[in-house]
Amino acid sequence: MSHTTQQRLAFNEPGWLDTLAAWLLGLLWLLPLVYAVWTAFHPAEFSTRFELSAPLTLNNFRRAWEAAPFARYFFNTTVLTGMILVTQLVISTLAAYAFARFRFRGRNLAFALVLVQLVVMPDLLVVANYKTMAQLGLVDSLLAIGLPYFASAFAIFLLRQTFMSIPKELDDAARVEGAGALQILWRVYVPLARPVYIAFALVSVSFHWNNFLWPLIVTNSVNARPLTVGLQVFSAVDQGIDWSIITAATLLSAAPLLIAFLLFQRQFVQSFMRAGIK
């Protein structure tokens, strides 16, 4: 009997070799970030010299902040991600509800047309979408960056799955009490799908905070440039490559998401999980 117990313990417990390897990989994974933090918080002469006695400084952050309109970039990115998230939530909630709870002619075709976007993402259609934005006179505006992402097949799919799992009896009960379709959606479905909304919101915000190619293409001035594009423009200018300033700017632009992630780690990880399980 003791043999079995021992074996079971050995079976569950990873060996020291596993732990060592896991930690080595973990350190390797954190190394770039640690390196960036070191460089950003120390004077330039220590950016490649690792001495524990090196003085700490916030000077690099101050200089980076002054060297480019980062305040404006932060503002743009915040407005952009907020705008995209709100429209995505409203538009996909309505569509998901229609797909989940009603039978109508052309439903399958309409749903298939939605799913196309899961594969043919706006990121690939930049040439045609740029042409459209130029025709609409929207080039170099936050709206132009957001428009192709307002309808999200991913959100519609995710919410439809969630809505379908909500018992129909709740629906009927509300209908008996005289609630209309939109009222039922708002009072019954949306509250019950809250975890999925949070999950999607986190995924969406991290995607659009970090998005780069389309904003790069469709903006050409400080007015509409988000952080990612601003950072690229900033670091592409050869200013004798002052690494400490560039890494400071880099950390600045990643900071809001990074800090949010460290604070709400569990929520983040679970949200990404939830969004992945269909």
Binding site: T4, Q7, R8, F11, N12, E13, P14, D18, T19, A22, L25, G26, W29, L30, L31, P32, L33, Y35, A36, T48, V90, L94, A98, F102, L113, V114, Q117, L118, V119, V120, P122, L124, L125, V126, V127, A128, N129, K131, T132, L147, A151, S206, N210, F212, L213, I217, T228, L231, Q232, I246, T247, T250, S253, L257, L258, Q265, M273, G276, I277, K278
Partner: protein, 316 residues
């Protein structure tokens, strides 16, 4: 068994005999209008920014790029012929296949190992999970800046380490033979933690009695993985595989910072080349043709998943 009675719509009515279909009851018609109103914003936006662009891109790829007063004309397959003879396109395609071919198995393999580790009771498990996942929330552009510094000749971290070990100096991003490998590594680093999450979710959803049964049977860890965990993880693997494939053709942000596709196009990828053709050389017709190729590759993968992989995979 009684014969199924004809449904209402099959019964000829006086109206349909006149060639007019019976209108649905008023209430029902209103209902249908409501449904389509709910779908309208999503469908309109998708039509404008997904379906129409696909059609117009295909259309443009058979035309020439308008230049000044010269309007665009029908050129048939010319853009595709140019593509076949374009050494840069061929380089970008070959690079992209290599890039995808390395990042997909490597990031998925690492993700699986990471998930198996942090699924166990291991010292500092929460911290490890965080370490693996952190790259996912960082912007690729920011990450690329850090890695650029990493790879920098002479005083970059990599050079300092290899110098200390007595290895010869290397310019990782400036050398055509190492540039693609260097940017591929960044992609693997960025993606593995993201895929780990999905494996971890699947592992945590597994019935614990499977493990107990295996332990009582005296199965080795490897046997348990191969015979129990791996087959049960198959749906997750398919999901991750499709995502990895799409990302393999979409992830180009880091090139803008690290190599700009160079040196001598050694690290260029399809989407990056598409950007250059479309927005540096402004050859929109040729860029459209490249877009068509990219969309065709991804659509092919999606269909493959739909018709082949999904049917072979054993779902619980």
């Amino acid at each position: 068994m009684p014969k199924p009675r004809p449904t209402a719509s099959c019964v000829p009515t006086s109206n349909s005999r006149l060639g007019v279909s019976l209108p649905p009851p008023m209430e029902h018609r209103q209902h249908v209008i409501h449904i389509w109103l709910m779908l309208l914003p999503a469908l309109l936006l998708l039509l404008a920014f997904t379906h129409w662009p696909v059609v117009s891109t295909l259309f443009d790829s058979f035309h020439s790029t308008p230049k000044g007063v010269r309007a665009s004309v029908w050129v048939g397959l010319d853009n595709y012929r140019v593509m076949l003879d374009d050494p840069v396109f061929r380089k970008a395609l070959a690079n992209n296949l290599w890039f995808a071919g390395v990042t997909i198995p490597l990031s998925i393999g690492l993700a699986l190992v990471m998930a198996l580790w942090v699924n166990e009771r291991m010292a500092g498990r929460a911290l490890l999970r965080m370490a693996y996942f952190t790259p996912t929330v960082l912007p690729m552009i920011a990450v690329a800046n850090i890695w650029l510094f990493f790879y920098t000749p002479q005083y970059g971290l990599l050079e300092q380490v290899s110098g200390a070990m007595g290895l010869p100096a290397q310019n990782w991003l400036g050398n055509p033979t190492t540039a693609l490998g260097a940017v591929t590594l960044v992609a693997v680093w960025k993606e593995a933690g993201f895929f780990m999450i999905f494996y971890l979710a699947a592992l945590q959803g597994m019935n614990p009695s499977l493990r107990e049964a295996a332990a009582i049977e005296g199965a080795s860890r490897w046997t348990f993985f191969r015979r129990v965990q791996w087959p049960l993880l198959m749906p997750t693997t398919v999901f991750v595989l499709v995502n990895a494939f799409i990302n393999g053709f979409r992830m180009v942000d880091h090139l803008f910072v690290m190599t700009r596709g160079g040196p001598d196009n050694a690290s260029t990828l399809l989407l990056y080349y598409l950007y250059e053709v479309g927005f540096s050389f402004w050859d929109t017709a040729y860029a459209s043709a490249i877009t068509v190729v990219l969309v065709a590759i991804l659509a092919g993968v999606a269909l493959l998943q739909f018709f082949v992989l999904d049917r072979r995979v054993h779902y619980q």
